[in-house]
């Protein structure tokens, strides 16, 4: 184990490796499960910027949360004879068949979202979904500060591995502090999530907290709580622009958001594939730690999470 590269920093390429990469004129495929949130965009931007810097061509595609589409795109990339494929899986276990084919073609695959059911990937890169969500959840329970507090979870109706890890994280956090989850509701659309959050607040007069498992749910929960005028605290997974603006306003019910380091992951994606082609050994799992973004540290977190981006508040 100690021979393998274990962190995003470990993946950095040396000057000699960079020269080697430039000479090989590599093309990588870069598949995202969707492209309409800040995380994916930042991930793609991070990857694109670094690929450009080191002279790798990047083919970016988006699956719109459709596992079948992602598989077709994966196959098309194999057809295109790319030198490596990075993907944020819609459903990690659904990509196994294609990974198996990539193995046969000797194309390295680097994946976010869990190991596929079949085939070998060079490594699984993970934000600490479980830990991030556990930490944010614990912060929420601390802020509520009472035993038996009722909380609700607002989520995405989906078989994403990361969402399941997030759910597990929050359930453990609530359990550890003696609270109880009284409602779990999900939807895709921000507007419907707002509706769900409003309904849950309406139905449960003793509700003390809402945990939002993804960015749109954070936005919806914030708005619903604000409109209800009730004293309900919010924690969530994903810290994106609306969340930062909310934290920056100085008057917010959000206690903590778990932020992924998308730009770092984007760069690491390219580096990991390049390392593998250069025959370096990657550890099975490469964790990029999450940030716990709060009203106290948001400026600092912003510059880590979205390096170089203008502050939206």
């Amino acid at each position: 184990q100690d021979a393998c590269l274990a962190t995003a920093e470990d993946l950095h390429l040396s000057d000699a490796q960079l020269a080697d990469v430039a000479e090989r004129e590599l093309t990588f495929g870069f598949l995202t499960n969707n492209i309409s949130d800040d995380f994916s965009r930042t991930l793609v931007a991070g990857g694109e910027a670094y690929a450009e810097e080191i002279g790798v061509e990047l083919i970016v595609n988006n699956a719109d949360f459709d596992a079948n589409t992602q598989l077709s795109q994966f196959d098309a990339l194999l057809q295109r004879q790319v030198d490596g494929i990075f993907l944020t899986a819609v459903d990690a276990s659904s990509i196994g068949q294609a990974v198996n084919r990539a193995n046969r073609d000797d194309v390295p695959v680097f994946i976010v979202g869990g190991a596929p059911a079949r085939g070998d990937v060079i490594a699984v890169m993970n934000a600490s979904s479980y830990q991030g969500s556990f930490d944010a959840g614990s912060a929420m329970m601390d802020a509520i500060g009472e035993a038996n507090a009722q909380v609700a979870i607002l989520g995405i109706p989906f078989a994403l591995q990361t969402i399941r890890d997030r759910e597990k994280g929050i359930l453990d956090a609530v359990g550890a502090s003696g609270g109880q989850v009284i409602s779990m509701q999900s939807d895709f659309s921000q507007d419907r999530l707002l509706e769900l959050a409003t309904n849950v607040i309406q139905a449960n007069p003793d509700l003390k907290g809402i945990f939002a498992t993804w960015s749109l749910a954070v936005n919806a929960a914030t708005e619903a709580v604000e409109q209800s005028g009730r004293d309900i605290v919010i924690a969530g997974y994903d810290s994106e622009v609306p969340g930062y603006v909310e934290l920056a306003s100085g008057d917010t019910n959000i206690v903590a958001l778990s932020g992924q380091q998308a730009a770092l992951q984007g760069r690491a994606a390219i580096e990991g594939l390049a390392q593998s082609i250069l025959r370096a050994e990657l550890c099975d799992e490469i964790i990029t730690p999450n940030l716990l973004v709060t009203a106290d540290n948001f400026e600092e977190s912003w510059s880590i999470q979205y390096p170089g981006a203008e502050q939206p508040w």
Binding site: I35, I59, V60, N61, N62, D64, F65, D66, A67, N68, T69, L71, S72, Q73, D75, A76, L77, L78, Q79, R80, Q81, D91, S93, S94, I95, G96, Q97, P116, A117, R118, P157, F158, A159, R164
Partner: protein, 314 residues
């Protein structure tokens, strides 16, 4: 000579959009035009093709099936779960197909005997199947570890052809012959165009409609098996766009949404257009945001060409 060239051109007109698109991709990408890519295209779009063939029959008789993508999800989950529980894959496949035919027949029976639009019945079925698939799995896809099953569909070949392609080809020929060379098929055209006249001509309209939904069930079942084998698991919500793509393939093929005319061959071309477009855009590295616009414009272009051609024909 000249006349036959003109006739050839006229006959090809409806397919011009697809032909031009394939020509363009072939010239622009060295990776597009080869047997391996077409093999992949065919296997990747096998489920879409099967469902689109079934949808052709359903739309022909003036009905619709909105439940397919959810039912494919549910069936793949059931397939995976019974295989995990230890059932041999051939038995599991037969069982899943039976369930699927049952669901199709149920859709048809409620539509026909409850006299409510198939739109509503299958909308209800969509919600029910989605819910059940998630309830059964707790939203966690169920991996299929019987590799002989997976490899049968996605590694092995018959006569040098991948098995999904063979299944699609057989289904295509069967649907084509059914529609054009059997009593049943001819009757469907009449049922779709004028139900009352068909009834007064001795066509058992209700049975025919239920039968079409049952056939749809059969094709959806096959599609679900291929989808599960391709993904290597039973996954709820794995193909959210399947229904719309299948309907779009039928309509791009020139059928009326309200029944009376449809053609399996044209549907095949409609589905191919969608599949080729998705594949070609990846190969050509089209910008992710622009892909939507490109897709819209090319579908429009292909359909306008097709309509111009039908204008010429009448």
């Amino acid at each position: 000579m000249n006349q036959s060239a003109a006739k050839l051109l006229r006959d090809l007109m409806p397919y011009l959009g697809l032909i031009l698109l394939i020509g363009y991709f072939s010239l622009s990408s060295e990776f597009f035009l080869n047997a391996r890519n077409f093999e992949r295209l065919a296997t990747d779009s096998a489920t879409l093709m099967l469902v689109a063939f079934g949808m052709t029959l359903v739309i022909l008789i003036g009905e619709i099936d909105l439940s397919v993508s959810a039912v494919v999800g549910l069936l793949s989950v059931i397939l995976a779960q019974i295989m995990v529980a230890g059932m041999a894959w051939p038995v599991a496949m037969v069982l899943v197909i039976l369930i699927s035919v049952g669901i199709g027949t149920l859709n048809g029976a409620i539509t026909v005997y409850g006299q409510i639009p198939s739109f509503i019945v299958t909308l209800g079925m969509l919600a029910i199947a989605t819910g059940l698939a998630f309830v059964f799995t707790g939203a966690i896809s169920v991996a299929i570890l019987q590799y002989d099953f997976l490899d049968l569909f996605y590694s092995e070949q018959i006569f040098g052809l991948p098995i999904p392609l063979v299944i699609v080809a057989l289904a295509f020929v069967a649907c084509l012959l059914t529609l054009n060379r059997t009593r049943f098929g001819r009757e469907l055209f009449a049922v779709g165009a004028n139900m009352e006249a068909a009834r007064l001509s001795g066509v058992p309209v209700k049975q025919r409609k239920v039968a079409v939904f049952a056939i749809m069930g059969l094709l959806v079942g096959l599609g679900a098996i291929l989808s599960a084998a391709r993904l290597g698991n039973g996954a709820p919500g794995s193909s959210p766009t399947l229904t719309l793509d299948a309907i779009a393939a039928v309509i791009i093929g020139g059928a009326s949404l309200f029944g009376g005319w449809a053609s399996v061959l044209r549907t095949l071309l409609g589905a191919l257009l969608i599949a080729v477009l998705n594949n070609g855009m990846v190969l050509m590295n089209v910008n992710i945001d622009a892909q939507y616009i490109v897709k819209g414009v090319i579908i429009l272009f292909a359909v306008v060409l097709e309509r111009l051609a039908s204008g010429v024909r009448t």
